[in-house]
Amino acid sequence: MLRAFSTAATGMTAQQMTVNTIANNLANMNTAGFKRTMIDFQDLVYLRLAEPGREIAAGIEAPTGFELGSGVRPAATLKVFTQGELENTGRELDLAIQGDGFFAIRLPSGDERYTRDGSFRVNADGQVVTSSGYVVEPGITIPADARSISVGVDGTVTVFQGSEETGSQVGTLTLVRFPNPSGLSAEGGNLLAATPASGDAVEGTASEEGFGSIQGGFLERSNVEMVTELVKLITAQRAYEINSRAIRAGDEMLQAANRLVS
């Protein structure tokens, strides 16, 4: 009886986690390159109180056993890497990836991080950096007298200098991909880090061998869909209430039993 309280409590905790995840998804509805997270739940272990096949009356065997479940637990959070909509911004260094892949970012510490947020800019040294100022791999320097910059679908960066009619190439942005992008760990600041679960980063050229193409002048919008998330929020909230009702019902039963002693 008291065990059942903790069973119902696992249900409330699970719904609470769902609400937290949805809140984070909704908060990032307008974050470029953001990928929504979902939680996969699994039922918890069962207590086997009676084996099937036991005799319940002379000559009658029970066809089923008796198992009491102990609730639910979150098995994993999964980032859902479906393509976000591409939004035309017209900025030369707003880059969106259409398809698979990430931009690689070099942190000042030397570590590599990955992102789909391609709102890049040029810093004082002429380097292409993220909006937080981290250098975008493989490190591209834009000459000071560049009139305009154009990034091709394969990542080649071309600049038009001074009064030149033809542009000159200053480098190529590479992309990386992972066997299991869902296994990347979100580090905040729109950055993802590789983990043993994600597998090793594979570097390659955009638009080739399964890599997505780079679209200059576009940003990838978050793949969070408001209506879907709100529906899930309502479902989770109701499920939370129902589980709390289960606890209350159990409490009523215990109160009734308590009255026996009084």
Binding site: D43, P63, G71, F81, G210, A257
Partner: protein
């Protein structure tokens, strides 16, 4: 005298537990609700035992799994697979093959198709490996369970069915195992739906009605017990007077 009621109270407590477990799993993908068979057996016992003498002694709860189809919810995620029909996915665990209806899969670090906990999903010819050159988003799964990556077939999901699904026992963590060691047969008439999750088949209203019934029955039985206590006291009072 009171043992009968006590057994009923314990049985109701267990029923309550099963209801609470179902409600906790109302949003668990692929979860199948548990039925508590306690009431059915009491009724049968009352019928057969003319004097009702052996009814309390045989009051034993049992649970069964309700394998009815859960509704399919669209997620658009390429590796969310839902089954319609009576089949199961097969996952490999360190304790052997296990069966599940939870088709939330992903590609593991080594390229194998695994479930959300990292257990490999079995294909007809061993584990299914997604080549590194293909994004998990571009994996296609046909209605028959054939897995295609970048236009090339890379395997077929092993889908199995059991002649007697009642032989399956829940282990937790979304998996079932046949307790008599029976082997499954290849599933027929099952379709795999890519981009969908099979929702839990727990229906809130049914479980809440059950919860109300159990609570009220419990209170009634406690009432009965306290009446007996009072009668006993009154009798004792008469005897001692």
């Amino acid at each position: 005298m009171g043992t009968e009621t006590t057994a009923v109270l314990a049985g109701l407590g267990e029923q309550y537990h099963t209801l609470a477990h179902n409600l906790a799993n109302i949003n668990t993908v692929g979860y199948k609700r548990r039925l508590s068979r306690y009431a059915a057996e009491t009724a049968a016992g009352a019928e057969t035992g003319a004097a009702g003498a052996n009814a309390p002694a045989t009051l034993q709860s049992s649970t069964a799994i309700d394998f009815s189809q859960g509704r399919l919810v669209r997620t658009g995620r390429s590796l969310d697979l839902a089954l319609s029909g009576k089949a199961f996915f097969v996952v490999e665990t360190d304790r052997g093959e296990r069966y599940t209806r939870n088709g939330v899969f992903r590609v593991g670090g080594d390229g194998h198709l695994v479930d959300s906990q990292g257990r490999p999903v079995a294909g007809e010819g061993g584990p299914i490996t997604v080549p590194p050159s293909v994004s998990p988003m571009e994996v296609e799964v046909t209605a028959e369970g054939r897995v295609v990556a970048g236009g090339a077939p890379i395997g077929r999901l092993r889908l199995v069915a059991f002649e007697d699904p009642n032989a399956l026992e829940a282990e937790g963590f979304s998996t079932l195992v046949p307790r008599d060691g029976s082997t499954p047969t290849p599933a027929a008439e099952t379709t795999v739906q890519q981009g969908f999750q099979e929702a839990s088949n727990v229906d809130a209203v049914t479980e809440l009605v059950g919860l109300i019934q159990v609570t009220r029955l419990y209170e009634a039985n406690v009432q009965l017990l306290s009446l007996r206590k009072d009668t006993g006291k009154a009798l004792l009072g008469v005897a001692m007077a």
